[in-house]
């Protein structure tokens, strides 16, 4: 469930799962004292059932604003009303002076067949990568149509196109497509409108779309597209369902609306998505049990930053790893929160776990390039990022075709990672590595073997991988030795005959585990395995 650790607020084991979410939102909202929450818990019959969260939040929502500073625990529980920050005055600034409108519709009921059909049509255009030039407006229109008929996804994609244009993650048809790498894409600046995008995201969050959180944070923190908080606004140019529009317009100020949207939106999201890992830093990870202090704000005056940080907490609760990484960074440097390395390390660990999953996605190993812009390189920034337009890469390609081994390996690497502006194309990478391997290059043999072993850029072929590793190992390649060791260790891929063939090659009593580990730990300088391996490497 959501928060399996002991809850920071009341610090009792029973407050885990969806209830923890409720408490965590209270912490972040910081508007209720602990005893009030305790009273609510006692007087209610909430269970750990996820469906209770929405109701719980609505109940809490209607609770009159209580001063959070009237008890010691209350001080701790409050994120906004820290005594050092000015206590009551801060509460007054941020507190809700009026009851917020509670969402009365169920987002799931709004979607109709038109929205489904429009979304499908728009997505097909994206998947097929067809006709960017002419299609941009059409696609935008289809998403808008889906959004008007209540599609949270359609509204999100419409907003992302408004904000990021083609670069938005969801509209990126394929990382492999070289079409996106060239400069032939038309500028979509004419379509850009971050303010429209902002309201679109808000609407999408109302409909319970978690994907809207991080882009919304992006806008709030950068200030781009964020309208003044206390002005009235119209939403005529945003493709919203009439119910959503009425809901967004029902509040007297944007700030109030946003607060309402966040709580409602998070409640909706939580009933749809339940993360399995604990999402907030538990008390025992903090020094001296002052964990809650860390949720206090460093600066009491910036309402928008607080909203954004609140959204980050919400996203973190809902399992968005980007939010966890962002929180880790904020706690590390004390940006918008009080600096605390314990909390930073906690969020860092959560996001690193996710990064590890990303890293090991088949064929998806990320590449990190020195893609930094600065004044010195203004005129040179294209250099090294032009992909197949790069003269040096073209030259390398020609040499590779002539059979030049280092060029073959280098081209394999470029295609494997999709580096220097080249598209990621692992089938081609494998081809280049194989060519290098045939010409006796250890690097090529190891590159090809690794891809054969994992099934990247083509089918898996374990026995072929073993042969390539063996050949490279016999030429003294450490990488190949490790590859072989790995395969021995996870020996299920090698059948008996293959293993015995390898054993015959290397010696009669070759014990895989001994070789993998024993030699490293072995203290006998005369060990024959050690000598054998030394002679190889």
């Amino acid at each position: 469930m959501l928060n399996s650790g002991s809850l920071h607020l009341l610090h009792e084991d029973s407050h885990s799962g969806p209830m923890a979410l409720v408490y965590d939102i209270i912490v972040w909202e910081g508007l209720l004292a602990t005893r009030d929450i305790a009273a609510l818990v006692i007087s209610s019959s909430w269970t750990r059932d996820v469906s209770g969260v929405d109701l719980a939040l609505q109940l809490l929502y209607k609770t009159p604003l209580m001063s959070a500073i009237d008890s010691d625990r209350g001080k701790q529980a409050s994120m906004f009303c820290d005594e050092e920050d000015g206590g009551v005055s801060v509460c007054e600034t941020l507190g809700r002076s009026e009851p917020l409108t509670t969402r009365v519709f169920n987002p799931a009921d709004l979607e109709d067949p038109v929205s489904v059909a429009s979304l499908k049509a728009a997505n097909e255009r994206v998947l097929n990568c067809t006709g960017y030039t002419a299609d941009y407006g059409v696609k935008l229109g289809l998403y808008a149509e889906a959004a008007e008929h209540g599609s949270p996804e359609g509204l999100l994609l419409w907003s992302l196109l408004k904000i990021y244009g083609h670069e938005s993650a969801s509209s990126l048809c394929s990382f492999k497509s070289s079409a996106l790498r060239t400069s032939t894409l038309p500028s979509t600046v004419a379509f850009h409108d971050q303010r429209q995008g902002f309201f679109g995201l808000v609407g999408s969050l109302v409909l319970g779309n978690t994907g809207a959180i991080m882009p919304l944070v992006n806008l709030l923190l950068s200030g781009v597209g964020v309208p003044p908080m206390n002005e009235t606004y119209t939403l005529d140019d945003i493709p919203l369902h009439s119910e959503v529009r009425a809901y967004l317009l029902s509040s007297s100020s944007l700030l109030n609306t946003l607060r309402g949207v966040i709580v409602d939106g998070v409640a909706t999201c939580s009933s749809a998505l339940v993360s399995s890992e604990s999402a907030l830093c538990p008390l025992d990870y903090t020094v001296g049990g002052v964990g809650l202090r860390n949720y206090s704000r460093a600066s009491p005056r910036d309402v928008i930053t607080d909203l954004a940080i609140g959204l980050l907490y919400a996203a973190s609760l809902l399992g968005v790893s980007e939010a966890k990484a962002a929180l880790s960074y904020r706690f590390e440097v004390g940006r918008g929160v009080i600096r605390d390395e314990e909390t930073a390390a906690w969020y860092g660990l959560l996001s690193a776990k996710r990064a590890s999953v990303d890293y090991h996605a088949l064929g998806g190993e990320p590449i990190v390039e020195a893609d930094r812009l600065n004044d010195d390189t203004e005129d040179k920034v294209h250099r090294g990022n032009m992909g197949s337009d790069d003269a040096l890469i073209q030259m390398q390609l020609i040499r590779a075709r002539e059979g030049h081994v280092p060029s073959l390996v280098a081209m394999g690497d470029l295609y494997y990672y999709g580096a220097r502006g080249m598209p990621r194309d692992q089938a081609r990478a494998r081809d280049f590595f194989m060519q290098a391997a045939e010409r006796g290059s250890s690097e090529g043999q190891c590159g090809a073997a690794g891809m054969l072993l994992k099934g990247e850029g083509g089918d898996r072929n374990v026995s072929r991988a073993v042969l390539l590793y063996e050949e490279a190992a016999s030429n003294g390649s450490i990488r190949a030795l490790n590859g072989l060791g790995y395969m021995f260790f996870f020996g299920k891929d090698l059948d008996k005959n293959e293993v015995s063939a390898i054993i015959r090659t290397y010696g009669p009593s070759w014990d895989p585990i001994t070789v993998v580990l024993g030699c490293m730990l072995c203290t006998h300088s005369q060990c024959r395995y050690r000598q054998k391996l030394s002679s190889i490497s």
């Binding site: 244009g165 400069s183 850009h192 990484a325 390390a345 996710r354 990303d358």
Partner: protein
């Protein structure tokens, strides 16, 4: 493994460390495992070693528990997540002359940390 001992690549060190950490084929030895991960992480910027070492440090496995030291490694590890792609999107947008878009992408990336850090990335 002889490959690990030669300290010429991160994978060998990690695999040896992994076996020590989990007691696979050898007696469990957290301290030794942590040493090997440390070499693989610092010398080769090996991702799995960086991540495992950071986790061990925050949990206090095989040595002292330290949030400060673990953060150094965890940060390097989480920077690699899929959101890292915003940096590249920013550059691509810039190269294509879509400066507004580029700025939005870089702003989003900057939430995860100092962009210049990506320059050195796993090399800590």
């Amino acid at each position: 493994m002889i490959a690990a001992e030669s300290q010429r690549d991160g994978d060998s060190l990690f695999n040896a460390g992994y076996c020590l950490l989990h007691g696979r084929g050898v007696p469990q030895n957290y301290r030794f495992a942590r040493e090997l991960f440390s070499i693989a992480a610092n010398k080769f910027g090996h991702f799995d070693s960086v991540f495992t070492l950071g986790s061990m440090m925050i949990e206090g496995t095989g040595g002292l528990r330290s949030a400060t030291s673990s953060l150094r490694y965890l940060k390097a590890a989480y920077s690699i997540g899929s959101y890292h792609a915003w940096i590249r999107r920013g550059l691509d947008a810039y190269l294509n002359g879509h400066y507004e878009k580029s700025a939005m992408c870089y702003l989003r990336a900057s939430e995860i940390g100092d962009a210049s850090r990506y320059h050195h990335d796993m090399h800590l």
